[in-house]
Amino acid sequence: MSTLIPRPSSVRLRQLLKASCEVFQTVYNPDNIRTGNKILRRKMKGPAAISYYPIESPVKFRHIRAAYPMFEFPNTPDEHRITMNELRKRKGKGPPKKKEGKVI
C-alpha cells in the first residue's frame, strides 16, 4: 500500500513564499495585486534627454583672439561675407541710402 504524502496547507505555503522573498530580496505579492510597481521600475529618461543638444562652449573665437594678441586668427567666414558685400556694392546692389524723412 502506497503512503500518501500530505500536501502542506496554503497557510504554510504562503509562509514559505514569504520566507523565500525575504531570503532572495524579491517583492512579496502572493495575490498579484497591481501595486503600480512597474511604473517605478522604469528607467528615467531625463539625463539622456537633456544631453541631446551639446552645451555651448564657454570659450569663443573672440576670447582666443583676445588671449593671444601676438597671433593672427583670420575670421574666414566673416571675411568671405565682407568680400561678397563689396562685390555687390561694386555692381550697384548694395543697401539703399537712408531717407531723411517721410515724403508725402
Binding site: R34, T35, G36, L40, M44, G46, Y52, Y53, I55, E56
Partner: protein, 110 residues
C-alpha cells in the same frame, strides 16, 4: 524661471530652442510625473486619491511631457529624417559621411 536653461552649442533655430526647453522641463518634472502615474496605477491606494492624481497629471503643462520632445538635426535643425545615432538629418549625414567626418561610416556594398 529659477534655473537658466543652457544654450545649445550646435546650430540654433527657434524649433531647437523650443525643443531644448521642453527637454529640460520634462526632465525637471519627470520625478513628479512618475510618482503621480504610480499613484494612478496603484490599486491599493483609495480610489479618490487615484482620481485626484490622474487629474493632476492631466493638468500638468505640455512641456513637462517627455513625448513632446523631438529629435532634431544638430547641424540644420531639421525635424524629419533624423538618424538618432548621428543626431543629423539624412542630407547632413550624407555630406558629413562623404567628407569622412563620421568615423567608420562608408558606402554600403555587399
Amino acid at each position: 524661471m529659477a534655473t537658466k536653461i543652457p544654450t545649445p552649442g550646435c546650430f540654433i533655430n527657434t524649433m531647437i530652442v523650443r525643443d531644448n526647453f521642453k527637454r529640460h522641463m520634462a526632465a525637471e518634472a519627470e520625478a513628479e510625473r512618475r510618482a503621480l502615474k504610480h499613484i494612478v496605477y496603484n490599486m491599493t491606494v483609495p480610489v479618490r486619491a487615484r482620481i485626484q492624481a490622474q487629474l493632476k497629471l492631466a493638468v500638468m503643462p505640455n512641456y513637462t511631457r517627455m513625448n513632446q520632445t523631438k529629435s532634431r538635426c544638430v547641424v540644420s535643425g531639421k525635424g524629419r529624417a533624423v538618424l538618432s545615432e548621428f543626431k543629423m538629418s539624412r542630407h547632413q549625414f550624407r555630406m558629413a559621411a562623404q567628407n569622412g567626418e563620421l568615423p567608420g561610416v562608408k558606402r554600403a556594398t555587399w
